[in-house]
């Protein structure tokens, strides 16, 4: 439950929404329990339910269309080959405080944020793919790009 709430809190960016999401996920899990296939990954199943609840909520509040469009576009952006910040970037990462990390995380798209959080929870690429509903290869590139963005964001905060 703590892990689900942690995921929900950073995914939604709101303490109130996080509680609603966890409650909604529990309610959906209860309703869907008879269809759960034993032998498959229950933890990943619960996280997928919560993420789906998050997406449904965003659709209901009509915040999703513009974001989804920009997220789809950002999927296509290849790695930028601009020079890294080098020592400045390293110092920024070392000096980043909790508020910086939370701010950088919240600046990512919801999909990017999700893969970073799920990776931190210890899910494998295959499990993350199952949760977010995409191919494992997509998870790898999405996670890599998200981490790239996080590094640049954290470096900018400290400049």
């Amino acid at each position: 439950m703590d892990s689900l709430h942690h995921f929900a809190r950073y995914l939604s960016g709101s303490a109130v929404d996080a509680e609603d999401l966890v409650q909604e996920a529990y309610a959906r899990a209860f309703r869907a329990a008879p269809t759960f296939a034993w032998g498959t990954n229950l933890r990943a199943w619960l996280f997928r339910i919560l993420r789906n609840a998050f997406i449904d909520g965003r659709r209901r509040t009509r915040r999703t269309s513009d974001e989804d469009a920009s997220e789809s576009a950002s999927e296509e952006v290849p790695f930028a080959h601009e020079p890294l910040f080098g020592d400045i970037e390293m110092e920024a990462l070392r000096g980043a405080v909790a508020a910086d990390i939370e701010r950088a995380l919240s600046a990512l798209t919801a999909d990017a944020r999700a893969v970073v959080l799920l990776d931190l929870e210890g899910f494998s690429e295959g499990e993350i793919a199952e949760i977010v509903g995409c191919a494992a290869g997509t998870v790898k590139s999405r996670l890599s790009r998200a981490r790239d963005s996080l590094r640049k964001l954290l470096a900018q905060y400290r400049r």
Binding site: Y10, A15, G86, L154
Partner: protein, 264 residues
């Protein structure tokens, strides 16, 4: 492997998730590409940075609410539904003391194990202290907004047991204010946390200061735990039991430091 593919595979490479051929190709590219080598170093540092992302555990009120509604009860649901909800509610069970399966001693042993594990995290941490000590009046206010209680500590540190600083950790399912003391070459960690809902040992503690203190050993570490008012305390170190009792006596006795513990 080009730069783009290398960057995509850096994390998987460090985790040993690539095939031997992919790993060799990655290493070959890194040897010849300064930018990707620097990106790899920065990505390693990012992992350390992300480990400092604060945990946002479920509030106790939410746990209680969900527990009252979804906790598995005998014959309430069909077997499969009950199993799913039981697994989903593992966190709830821990928070509630896992009373179904464990005896009182075993449950309190879980607290001892947790205290030692948390102490080990302090020892292993590159940055065990998030706020350097300039005295208890500098450390205590730092916790405001970081934990959902006011950590009450009766001992401000002295020459024998200097207060090095503080940080926020997790004890079982809740946040803990962590005070780190030194004693010669030993590190002593004091965890202060909300005491409610934890599987405390039966009231067989020995008197230390003005408290009844539970004394346990685990993996070569000595653990002293006690409750005062709403708060719980766990003191952990590999220093001698006598020295640890001495510090516990100062911590558990009002008036030996800068502040008195609040009234129960």
């Amino acid at each position: 492997m080009d730069c783009m593919e290398t960057r995509t595979n850096l994390l998987a490479g460090r985790r040993g998730l690539l095939s031997p051929q992919e790993a060799a190709s990655l290493q070959e590219h890194l040897r010849g590409c300064e930018l990707c080598t620097r990106a790899d170093a920065a990505d390693i540092e990012l992992s350390r940075t992300l480990s400092r992302l604060p945990r946002r555990d479920a509030p106790q009120a939410l746990k209680r609410r969900l527990e009252s509604r979804w906790a598995p009860r005998e014959r309430r649901w069909p077997r499969r539904v009950g199993q799913v909800v039981a697994v989903a509610g593992v966190g709830l069970a821990v928070a509630a003391g896992a009373t179904l399966f464990l005896g009182a001693r075993e449950r309190s042993d879980a607290m001892v194990t947790e205290a030692v594990n948390d102490h080990l995290r302090v020892l292993y941490s590159e940055h065990p202290v998030e706020v350097e000590s300039g005295g208890i009046h500098q450390v205590k206010p730092w916790f405001a907004g970081r934990v959902d209680f006011a950590p009450s500590v009766a001992f401000a540190g002295d020459q024998d047991f200097p207060l090095k600083g503080g940080s926020v950790a997790y004890f079982m399912d809740r946040k803990a204010a962590t005070f780190i003391y030194g004693h010669r070459l030993h590190t002593i960690t004091l965890f202060v946390f909300r005491a409610d809902g934890l599987p405390w040992p039966p009231a067989d503690g020995e008197p230390v200061g003005s408290q009844r203190v539970y004394v346990r050993d685990d993996r070569g570490f000595h653990v002293l735990m006690w409750r005062h008012g709403d708060l719980g305390y766990a003191l952990v170190s590999d220093t001698s039991p006598t020295d640890l009792r001495e510090l516990a006596g100062r911590l558990a006795t009002p008036g030996t430091g800068s502040e008195s513990p609040r009234t129960p």
